[in-house]
Symmetry: C4
Subunit: 205 residues, 4 copies
């Protein structure tokens, strides 16, 4: 198994997960008593969640290539940990749908926001675990020799996204909007040019 | 990150978005009081929207390769602008569904047509922005050196799709059918052999 | 644009169309008054249509590569005709769903079978048109020089699937089961080893 | 047709099938009389089935590459048997959905578990058949010459997953939970490092 095939399969899963997000944008039923403009406007949480999820999945895709690009070839353990990472990415359309449905509801709002931020936290954890496994346990499979110092530095940068997602998950039980705002801010931060030097090694957003 | 990987991921998102359009073709419920022929015929807006959206997505795919084919390698800013472009393409199955549902309804018809044409306008704008960024800001990343004159000419051709989409979006509030006709005519125009010389540089929208 | 990219995009659309067929297999609602075995058994048209459509799409994929494999590079006209072919493939999950829903209904059964066979006919026509355009109009783009005789022979073999689909479409108005049987027999025929010499040039049906 | 194209198409079908699994995770309707936490918790069979199916599909993907990687080039018979294998993989989102829906229901529970395990059995059978055909009938197409002894050993290892799936399918009629546990244990077993030497030749189950 070459890294090329590993990347091609991962690309496909990540691309399909991102594109399936559109299924969360629901066409209002024609028989509504409100105007279509009202009904569409009412769905703003779905648009916000679509944008944040798509951007976050896109950034994880970029970072995935940086991570796998360091490898000469994968072994069985790397392939399995990568599958687990893809499994957490594959679940994001569900978490996005949950948030879109409940963000403006009086009931379930906070749990939905916690599941949404928690799904990103899970993905970032799976990403960090694979990165840590590659850099610390299978550094013999790396293309270029990296000093222990460099590998540690990459991991610290990579783990920097975990903290904000922990906060966003906990904060959801206080304010679902604040939690969503953190998820959005993280996606934007990693998309910004300023993060590109740093971001190249950062794990999810 | 090579342009090959950027293209492979973009191809996958664009291909899935095009193929998801079929989910907008709804099988009439068997218990209907009308004949199946009547119920299927009644869905003609869905067929028209499917054909126009599929063709437009296909043409943007062709033009995307022309645009990325000029690059030696992408940088962070190009990858993020490309993600934003993919995000606008990913939204097209929703806009197509909205138009299919509301085109023949008395209520919401004009807004649905405006959202449909507006989604193409958004995509064309994202495409043009990325093309402009590559040609004007990151011309150092181009494979072949292009004079400022040549780059400007490509951008003008590329921007030529924006005008008709602006018109289609505005016109939707007067006549949703006229708006749809413009979107269809644009797709056909870029598909015609006559546009292939010109079209190679044109973004579609 | 290389044929490699054309194939990669076509592969993605064809693979997604084949995989979306599973959405036509509906899980019976738990509250049914019948046993699950009865409800699942009652859906046999959906299983038959899934198998026939998946196999037919798979064979068109094989033949697509044979067709594109003859090309040194595509031009604009080939790319647009290929898009039209992909558009007809993309519509198959809808036709499959329509047949699955109506095959055992007393009302709409024949039209549904005609649409199903007609969708294959449309696909075979789009395939034949592209093949004819390549071999007769753009033979300068072929990898290996083929005599007019050889090109004509390929086209005749390639067109041999059209006849049975015309018959299947017409026959649907007499017997939807007979129409479906022809579609199934064609898929099986092209899958058989005996058709592999012949089938390599045949369009699918 | 190169093995590269065969792998690319298979990758796409397998990746889409894995990603479509998320559609089985249903967002609880907002108007429920229970808390969202209760409604989400009630869906635990869907989460278990998602994880088991995703992991199993991922492992079959790994093993698919090992199998195809032995080939110098495919012939028509290999491509058709591969299509049949993909057809069985494509059906897994349906089997997963069926199990998710019925696992905790009093009615249909056992049949749903049998269909779920049976779908894996079908996939493993299709995998084993293709592997057997390649190794025993078309060994002239192998990259490296393997002795009859080595080929037989690979097939025995490869067939080792069939037994547990036969047991899981039969056991479903006694206990659907025990059946599901076997499916889960098999996925975990092949994912474990201990199975990687052995697992490289094992078909998934």
């Amino acid at each position: 198994m070459s890294t090329g095939r590993l990347e091609a399969f991962s690309d496909a899963v990540i691309a399909v997960a991102a594109t399936l997000l559109v299924l969360n944008l629901v066409v209002p039923a024609p028989g509504s008593q409100h105007s279509l403009a009202h009904d569409l406007g009412h769905q703003w949480p779905a648009y916000a969640a679509y944008a944040i999820s798509f951007l976050t999945i896109g950034i994880i895709w970029i970072n995935h290539h940086v991570m796998i690009g360091r490898l000469r070839e994968p072994d069985h353990s790397i392939m399995i940990l990568n599958l687990l990472l893809l499994m957490t990415i594959g679940v994001l359309p569900f978490a996005t749908n949950l948030l879109s449905t409940y963000l403006t509801k009086s009931h379930g709002q906070q749990l939905a926001a916690a599941v949404y931020a928690g799904a990103f936290l899970l993905m970032a954890t799976a990403f960090g675990t694979l990165n840590w496994h590659i850099l610390m346990h299978r550094s013999d499979l790396l293309r270029a020799k990296l000093s222990r110092e460099e590998r540690r530095r990459i991991l610290v940068t990579s783990a920097s996204g975990l903290g904000p997602y922990v906060i966003a998950t906990g904060l959801a039980f206080v304010s679902s909007y604040a939690s969503l705002a953190i998820c959005g801010a993280l996606a934007l931060f990693y998309a910004l040019p300023v993060a590109s030097g740093l971001g190249r090694g950062a794990p999810v957003g």
